[in-house]
Symmetry: C2
Amino acid sequence: MSSPNRFWRIASRPTGEVSAANFAWSEAPVPAPGAGELLVRVIYLSIDPVQRYWLSPDATFGPPAAPGMPMPGRVWGVVEKSPDSRFRAGDLVAGPGTWSQWCTLPVAMAEPVPDWPGIPLLAHTSLFSMQALTAYFGTLEIAQLRKTDTVVVSAAAGAVGSLVVQIARNHGCARLVAIAGGADKCRWLREKLGADHAIDYKAGDIGAALDAACPDGIDVYYDNVGGAILDAVLARIRPHARIACGGFISHYNEAGHAQGIHNFSMLALKQARAEGFSCFEYVHRADEAFATLRRWFEEGRIGYHTHLVDGLERAPDALAGIFRGSNLGKTVVQVSAPDRRTAP
Amino acid sequence: MSSPNRFWRIASRPTGEVSAANFAWSEAPVPAPGAGELLVRVIYLSIDPVQRYWLSPDATFGPPAAPGMPMPGRVWGVVEKSPDSRFRAGDLVAGPGTWSQWCTLPVAMAEPVPDWPGIPLLAHTSLFSMQALTAYFGTLEIAQLRKTDTVVVSAAAGAVGSLVVQIARNHGCARLVAIAGGADKCRWLREKLGADHAIDYKAGDIGAALDAACPDGIDVYYDNVGGAILDAVLARIRPHARIACGGFISHYNEAGHAQGIHNFSMLALKQARAEGFSCFEYVHRADEAFATLRRWFEEGRIGYHTHLVDGLERAPDALAGIFRGSNLGKTVVQVSAPDRRTAP
């Protein structure tokens, strides 16, 4: 362990768009785990839009994230040292770590990665992740998806959205409309993920596109973006519509006041419901979700789609890239060499 | 029946504020009921903010309301002619009528007014009305009021709001905050209806007033107004808050675009829920609500509060008055002489 641990510190809080300038490439000895902590060699680092939110000075949830601190992020890796019989050196583990080559994890917050035959570690970063719980329970519990519903999903090519599209397709719905930025993503959503229609929100008026794709209105909206797309959907909801408020990526980079939503009153007019939720509320039901997702995966009915970025040094650009829409699926940084189970 | 029937026709759709100029005082013979219709002498006419909404060209619910037509409105009156054994001349009846001295009601849409000892007809226009179902189920079912909740009610001196305040007080909650316009209404809400705090939204910054009244945030918001007050509440919701979207009176008189809501994303941040609803979804449970409200009334724990306007000729001014905040409680026009059961 004489090689140093490289990691990213937070250099400054972003104002507006997050960029590499907000992070400082740092070096320190590999940390010595404290009492009740594992030492983990990081293989995969999760890069998520919510990490931008954590950096805002008025964040009301998420891990501590202030200038000077190591940047937090979820990691998957190999246990190198363990003080606890539940984990042994060589075990695969996941948990709330940092943007680093090695990190410590409290045993209480570390999760063993189950050794499912045929399921590589990379699949766990997507299909069996917290975002999978978000997508699964957001679609089936919060939005109460029914087979007769017209469903719209925004940021549909992203980590959560690409799972929502596939979950909705597998569960069954009358019409599945995916919104993403760019023709390539739209083609992928139609041809690979099974969307009936894909709308390129950068290509024209979102309202007109929704009118064309959903002539009878919208029953379920899985919202990952907020802003103007949310407003356009609200204008077109059907009676008893359900909006799962999963995120609002369009706001995260806004320094000042969020854009106003003009059609909130449609909730009253249409006896509709908009509901926020957190995957943490569903952790106790993870087995149920993962069993279904695993069965669908083994039947070839769902895939995991990752935007794999090679090398920890590229993590800041990977985060900034999400806001430019450069990812297809879940953004993951490969930090160190995969072990036998990590071949995709 | 040689005396004429006086009634109000819609003269024009209002642009901006509704006024008497939008209605034409008209005269015609007393209508002859068609097959399956009752002839009703109107005693009380309901005047409601939603009637302004019915007049807008893009209304998506409510009775037909176009220039030239009699103005629709809920009525309570006496059956004068009935083709059906369920109703006899002299019975008290309620239903969707018009702003008129006499109107016809399809038997299928007419509701007998129950003859409850000690409950005058006027009480039925408030405490045992559709608005009472709105207030009751909006508070207890949609908002799922709990005894530990901090509750905020807007338009709290209005027909629905004054019932919500009393229902919340009787059901039990930790802190009950009523918002209304003017010091007199605020005093009434505190001293007569049992609000812990009353905020005069015309007197100063609504956000600062909410901070003072709800220092730990808001669990339940019964929204009758939308707009800036909704936005200020959203900024202060607690985790798992519930917003019952009962109406949005602040928008009804807007000709153009509704004011934007900037804090919609708080639903996602706080895992909160905003839900619209209609009293029509709860008609099948009216007995349950009215039994509770009647018990509370007989125990002296709830009252009906009407702003009684004398004479059908004043109906247009009564509707315009709601938007100026001139009513305390439910606005009702007395159209004809009460019978034995109508003495308050």
